[in-house]
Amino acid sequence: MLKIDGVNKSFGKVKALAEIDAMWGNGVHGLLGENGAGKTTLLRIIATIMEPDSGNLSFDGTLWTDKIKARYMLGYLPQRFSMYRQIKVREALEHIGILKGVNENLAQEVDRVLEAVNLKDKCEKKVGTLSGGMVRRLGIAQALIGKPKIVLLDEPTAGLDPEERILFRTMIRELGKQCIVLLSTHIVEDVELTCDTVMILHKGRVITSGEIDYVRDAAKGRVWELCFLNDSDKSINHSWIVTQKKKEDGIEKIRILSEKSPCEEAICVAPSLEESYMWLIDEGERHEAFKTINL
């Protein structure tokens, strides 16, 4: 179990993380939040490349104060991954294997990760000649070398085409069967389709966390659907939070987030994770505003 206990981090006056507590076992766990929510900072702290101001991290009794020991258990794919460009893919992975302390059967280990990310046919190509998607796959491969117990992926699907994204999701789901995978993203669909649990961060705080279904239910009874025969723009009240707008058989359907029914014709529908996420963020904002007023 990866345990995070009361982690705080500030950059000057900006509080990047406030009292983060979490406990994760094997599986894929999503970190969801808008840009600047603190997801990358949290991953960097777990990846031991950033010190928290306070708080503890541990995995099965190993404390993060022993960074070298912790690093042997980690595989980390940063948001922007780059690698030595002048060397071949296989050489790059061998290089990383040595840096990660893989002393035995390095060649076999490199073959294993190349196969896992489907890059075996490109192993003799120079890293600098790979496409964006292949570099991301190489990034995953370097994270997997040495069979880490914790894999940290910071926005792994950013900038990928739909086909690559689907491949990635399958790969990540497979990975979650063997180890702890933490997936940071602001793409709700990625979390919905790959993760077992999700933690939503907003301005450095945990708004909610739990299994996907549990978090999805956060907006239960607050999502409403309205149908319009004509152009809906004229009828939409600008105070409504419209989450979806689509046209089906000449009828325009919109989905609204609202505490109460926005009008008599509105039908209460089941929320999507994206709607619950928006609801929780909005609630977080209102909570912040309430706190500020009371100060």
């Binding site: 490349i49 690093r71 940063p78 948001q79 922007r80 060397i87 050489e91």
Partner: protein, 222 residues
């Protein structure tokens, strides 16, 4: 063996940039041999110690490009391999390799009769001191400034100051050089060499401490 493999990959990664140092040395040797004139020999030797020193920083600084200047350098920092080796170890290896080249360079000059027994020792001592200083200084700068470009710019700026003697007093302390026009007093040379080695070790240890505690904080923090 694994250290050798790492070194080979580091060298490969430098691409054609790796050859800058030997090519520059080769040009310097050719030039020195071509103008083998006793009246200018001292000047050429002076040029050697001024030019050769900064070249020592090139390999050291360039080997940090992926760590400091590439966004993905973060991944490197999450590996358990000793950062002391990547910092201090690699610097010492590159400086040692460079010194081998320099000794070859000076030996060629000796064989071709450009320098005699006494000047050869003086040159070996001075150029080694310079190379060691600049290599360590380059390492310190690149980990302190988080930028290969800035580190190289500063090394070149110091070398420029050194060459043109813009601030001769500062030069004596920073670059630990002696100008060859002064008499080649053996005691003085050894004193300067020891001084250079001590300053270089301080820089390497300081740079290594920075690198061990290195955080990817220059990037957007959140």
């Amino acid at each position: 063996m694994k250290h050798l493999k790492l070194l080979i990959y580091d060298v490969k990664e430098m691409g054609y940039g790796f050859f800058l140092t030997p090519v520059m040395l080769l040009l310097l040797i050719s030039y020195t041999i071509m103008i083998n004139d006793e009246s200018v020999t001292l000047g050429i030797m002076d040029m050697h110690q001024h030019f050769v020193g900064p070249l020592a920083a090139w390999w050291v600084v360039m080997s940090f490009y992926s760590y400091t200047d590439e966004d993905g350098g973060e991944a490197f920092l999450s590996y358990p391999f000793s950062r002391r080796y990547i910092g201090m170890g690699r610097t010492l290896i590159f400086v040692s390799c460079f010194l081998v080249l320099v000794f070859l360079d000076i030996s060629i000059l000796y064989v071709s009769g450009v320098c005699n027994d006494s000047t050869m020792f003086a040159m070996c001592a001075l150029v080694s001191g310079q190379a060691f200083f600049y290599g360590s200084f380059g390492f310190f700068l690149v980990v302190r400034l988080n930028s290969v470009l800035w580190a190289l710019a500063m090394v070149l700026a110091i070398a420029f100051v050194n060459i043109w003697g813009i601030v001769p007093k500062l030069e004596a302390y920073i670059t630990v050089t002696i100008v060859m026009k002064r008499s080649l007093n053996m005691g003085d040379i050894l004193y300067k060499l020891v001084y250079a080695i001590i300053v270089s070790f301080i820089l390497i240890v300081a740079g290594s401490r920075i690198f061990v505690k290195y955080e990817k904080s220059k990037m957007v923090p959140l």
